[in-house]
Every structure is written in structure tokens, then in C-alpha cells.
């Protein structure tokens, strides 16, 4: 039984390490576990009305898919990143949901390119980017670079 205790202690230690390393931005801390329902964003500091409406609509469309429960939308210069979470029992159909969503979005907004991802990492990074963009010294250029980085993450397979 001591083996189990050792493993358990290891587990607890890791939890402590994790707790110690947390950064201070509140929404990204819980983003993986709770529904955070982030506001849709554009990387331009002062988005015009049209752009804001567009991202709102994208979020609405994505949220309307039945199995999806939390959506983060960030619009970059060219691409729009849609990160979402899938209800656990629907995760078996994750590939199907992704292509459904792709289809819906490209039908509704044929003029825009979308990157959709159900990956927790992408969602987390989208939230983190949103938090960073709130800081005044975070430039648009930096934000766009960061967004491209996130999008390139979705293409990594191994």
C-alpha cells in the first residue's frame, strides 16, 4: 500500500507546483475548467462597428451548434480564430462537429477565412491573448503575431 501513498504524494506535490505557478490573470486561470464565455474580440484597438458586429455574429453562430458550449472568437487582420469547447458526451463526434462548424461559418461568412479548433490549448491561448490585449502597452502588431502563432499551433500534429 505504501506504493499508492507515494504516488498519491507525488500527485499532491504536482498540484502544489501547479498552484504555485499560476499567473495572475483570472479568466485564463479557470478557462480550462469552467465556462468563461469570453467576449468576441478583434485585434484592432478600436474596432469599427461592422467588425464588432461580425465577431458577435460569428460567436452566436458557433454557440448555436448544439454540442458546443463555450466559444472564444478573435478576429485578426486576415483570419478569424474560433476556439470552442465541446460537451463531453459529444466528444466522440469531435471531427464531425468541427467540419459542421466550418461549413456553417463559411456558408454564412463567405468573405472570411476561419480557423476553428476544439483544442483546449487553443481556447486557453485565445483567452490569454484576450487578457493581454486589455493591457494598453500591448500593440496591435504584437497581438496579430500572437494570433498567427496560435493558428500555427492548430496545424501541428505530433
Amino acid at each position: 500500500m505504501t506504493n499508492h501513498k507515494r504516488i498519491f504524494v507525488l500527485f499532491i506535490l504536482m498540484l502544489l507546483v501547479l498552484a504555485g505557478c499560476e499567473d495572475s490573470s483570472p479568466s485564463s486561470r479557470t478557462a480550462l475548467f469552467k465556462k468563461v464565455d469570453p467576449a468576441p474580440l478583434t485585434i484592432t484597438k478600436n474596432p469599427d462597428q461592422l467588425e464588432q458586429i461580425l465577431v458577435d455574429q460569428v460567436k452566436e453562430e458557433a454557440s448555436s451548434v448544439k454540442s458546443i458550449y463555450d466559444v472564444a472568437v478573435i478576429k485578426g487582420e486576415k483570419e478569424i480564430l474560433v476556439a470552442y469547447k465541446v460537451k463531453h458526451m459529444s466528444r466522440f463526434r469531435m471531427k464531425g462537429i468541427e467540419s459542421d462548424l466550418n461549413k456553417i461559418l463559411s456558408d454564412k461568412f463567405p468573405d472570411h477565412t476561419f480557423t476553428v479548433s476544439s483544442d483546449y490549448k487553443i481556447f486557453l491561448e485565445a483567452i490569454r491573448l484576450g487578457d493581454k490585449m486589455k493591457k494598453p502597452d500591448f500593440s496591435e502588431k504584437k497581438a496579430d503575431k500572437q494570433l498567427k502563432k496560435i493558428i500555427s499551433l492548430t496545424n501541428e500534429l505530433t
Binding site: N3, L10, M14, L18, L32, K121, L124, E156, L157
Partner: protein
């Protein structure tokens, strides 16, 4: 594996011996395997979560570092003589997760170091894991080959 036909006498003894043979506690073993195996997988989930949260890994890519970490932990437990006891307790619970694969390689490597690093460790490191790699690779080859041919025939590729 050639199985020879048993004589009536041998069959009779087999019957008799069965009566006295201690039965394997299948249900108890399965419960133990379930909890230990489940725990190792949950630990894996936790580690992959750490990789996602703190490093640049996605759900897709976190699998590899997670396996490597589990194998590293398995090396420590094997080296300190804990894993074989865990194995006796948990059976498949500790053999089926990738930590068991690591254990089979690491235990063989440690065991044969007295015979030298080249012939001992080098020659025996895959003593147990070799069959897993062989059948994994060969079956994957066959499966992927069939799938590729089917996809090509359909003109998808």
C-alpha cells in the same frame, strides 16, 4: 506450439489437480487493475494538462511528452524496486499503461548490466518489449497498407 494429445491418465490427474489449485481471484484482480490503471491514466491526463497549461503543447501534441514523463516516472519506480511490487498488486493495471512498457524495457536493462553494457544491456533491453514493438509495427504496417490501398482505389489519395 505443439500440443500433444494427453493420455487418459494425464487427463484424470488434471481433473484432480484442478480441485486443489488455488483459483485466481479474477474479480478482485480486475478491481485492483481498474483502479491502478485508471489512476495511472488520470495521472497521465494531469501531466498532459500541465504540458498544455505551461508549455506550448496542444491536446494533440501533448501525448508524446506525457508518455515520456510517465516512462521517466516508471524508470524511477523500477529502479527503486517499487514497480515490481506494484505489478504484483495491480497486475494489468500497471502492465497495460505505457509505464508498464517502460518498466519492461528498464527492468531488462537493469537486470542484465552485470553482463556488460553491449551484450548485456544492449542485447537484452528489448527482451520483453520486443514482441510489443514487433507486433505493433507489423500490424500497423498491414493496417496502414490496406487502408492506403483502399483510399487509393477510391481515388481519395
Amino acid at each position: 506450439m505443439a500440443k500433444k494429445k494427453k493420455t487418459p491418465q494425464q487427463k484424470q490427474y488434471e481433473q484432480l489437480e484442478k480441485k486443489y489449485e488455488t483459483k485466481r481471484p479474477v474479480v478482485k484482480n480486475c478491481i485492483k487493475a481498474f483502479f491502478v490503471g485508471g489512476f495511472i491514466c488520470m495521472l497521465g491526463q494531469f501531466i498532459s494538462f500541465l504540458y498544455i497549461y505551461f508549455f506550448h503543447f496542444t491536446e494533440q501534441t501533448s501525448g508524446n511528452p506525457t508518455s515520456a514523463t510517465i516512462i521517466f516516472l516508471s524508470m524511477l519506480l523500477t529502479g527503486f524496486g517499487i514497480y515490481d511490487r506494484l505489478g504484483q498488486f495491480a497486475g494489468a493495471g500497471s502492465a497495460v499503461p505505457v509505464s508498464g512498457f517502460g518498466n519492461s524495457i528498464i527492468s531488462a536493462a537493469i537486470e542484465h548490466r552485470t553482463e556488460g553494457f553491449v551484450l548485456g544491456v544492449g542485447g537484452n533491453i528489448f527482451k520483453l518489449a520486443g514482441s510489443v514493438i514487433l507486433f505493433g509495427v507489423f500490424s500497423a504496417f498491414v493496417v496502414a497498407l490496406i487502408k492506403t490501398i483502399i483510399l487509393m482505389a477510391r481515388g481519395v489519395m
